[in-house]
């Protein structure tokens, strides 16, 4: 039985003035997955996430959350989706308790017991003003707000960007505990690849407003191989497998290749590649049209 994907887009695009922030984006985020959204600044990550939660209107294509349009069917979609925007906006003049009250008043599905328990576990001061809390504490309040409405989909835009390593670890732990308890689908964008590798099982790479790669991380790692060998022409290999990047020195050639078969040329030596290398290769790929340029470190 095929379950409705949490998010499904079809050639989704958004234009601001004459510039396309997102273009031709088609992907499906399976329910129950933890998906990493990766890409350089300006790649379209925030645009995509905002379209998913109904904060923006698509210029082209469509987006569906659990089968509904997030803008037109906002009343049906909003209670099922939790969102933490970049910089985790909160009402800085409110106390933590008042902030939770906002959640309670604006969300029919609000679980107050859960919210209070979480706040207690994290030692967040109920009477403390939001503006006086540390970045990590504010992020946790924002996350509490999003989790306590018991969403089926949680969308986070760079949630850990401004946090110190400990706060980051605690935030991600909280997220994973939520997934364990409720099976909530998570989509989070981030720069920090090491974090994402621990936490995510799906990946979407965005660069220059387009999707470069999307799929389960297991499959992605299994499908990519590094080929090394004496300096050679790429054309032969490129006919049979997708060459992501190629790098040449005087005597050696090194290729990152994507394949779903396992027939290789005997003249090439095979290596596995870890996720970070794969992601960097796809991101670097766009920096230069010339495939003979070096991969970034």
């Amino acid at each position: 039985m095929i379950t409705t994907p949490a998010i499904s887009t079809d050639r989704l695009g958004k234009r601001y003035g004459s510039a396309w922030a997102l273009r031709d984006c088609t992907l499906a985020v399976p329910a129950g997955s933890v998906t990493a959204l990766v890409g350089p600044n300006g790649a379209g990550k925030t645009t995509l996430l905002q379209l998913v939660v109904g904060l923006g209107r698509a210029t082209a294509g469509s987006v569906e959350v659990f089968g509904c349009d997030p803008q037109r069917d906002a009343g049906a979609v909003l209670p099922r989706v939790g969102f933490v925007a970049q910089e985790h906006p909160l009402y800085s003049g409110f106390t933590v308790a008042e902030m939770l009250k906002v959640g309670r008043k604006l969300n029919p599905g609000w679980d107050d017991a859960f919210a209070l328990q979480r706040v207690q576990e994290l030692s967040l001061p109920l009477g403390g003003k939001i503006g006086k809390l540390s970045g990590g504490q504010q992020a946790q309040v924002a996350l509490t707000l999003a989790l306590a409405k018991r969403p089926e989909l949680l969308v986070l835009d760079e949630p850990v960007a401004s946090l110190d390593p400990l706060a980051r670890r605690e935030f991600l732990s909280s997220l994973m505990e939520a997934v364990t308890e409720t099976g909530v689908t998570i989509v989070l964008s981030s720069h920090i690849l090491a974090d994402l590798e621990r936490v995510c099982d799906h990946l979407v790479i965005l660069s220059r407003a387009r999707t470069q790669l999307a799929g389960p991380i297991d499959e992605i790692v299994a499908e990519h191989r590094l080929l090394t060998g004496p300096r050679a022409d790429v054309a032969e290999i490129a006919r049979r497998h997708e060459v992501v990047t190629a790098r040449h020195s005087e005597r050696q050639t090194s290729l990152l290749v994507r394949s779903n078969g396992h027939v290789y040329d005997a003249s090439w030596e095979l290596h596995e590649v870890d996720l970070e290398e794969i992601v960097l290769a796809y991101l670097a790929q766009n920096r230069a049209e010339d495939p003979t340029l070096a991969m970034s470190a």
Binding site: S173, V179, V199, E223
Partner: protein
């Protein structure tokens, strides 16, 4: 109770690290038959890893017979430790010993020996794509 740790740079998949740590804990007596493994939520809360990874590790251990998953209660170290039929392992060990002797006779040092072995195992795994 076992405390898990994760080495992201080791190149070993996370779930496998958990499996190996449980096996070692059982071997060393840190985990005794009947002991409960940490709940998925606990592991996930401490390590900040995907719960599916933990589930995969526990499933693997269950499959090996090292642990038993009791629905709604938890995952426990199995009472009876399954052992490989001693004959299988014994035969492998003997042929491996002969190989090591041959390599030493050819003047291959310990490090080169280990490299050779690891490379061969790896190459076999890699050529089996996806």
């Amino acid at each position: 109770m076992i405390i898990f740790h994760l080495d992201q740079r080791s190149g070993v998949p996370t779930y496998l690290q958990l499996v190996q740590q449980v096996r070692q804990a059982v071997r060393l007596g840190i985990l005794m038959p009947g002991d409960q493994l940490p709940t998925v939520k606990d592991v996930v809360g401490t390590l900040a890893i995907n719960p599916n990874t933990v589930l995969k590790a526990y499933r693997e251990l269950d499959h090996e017979g090292l642990v038993v998953a009791r629905r709604g209660v938890g995952t426990f170290v199995a009472d009876l430790q399954p052992s490989r039929p001693p004959d299988d392992l014994k035969a492998l060990r003997t042929s491996l010993q002969r190989w090591v002797d041959r390599a030493r006779a050819a003047g291959v040092g310990d490090e080169a020996l280990a490299d050779l072995f690891a490379d061969t195992v790896r190459a076999e795994r890699i050529s089996r794509v996806a």
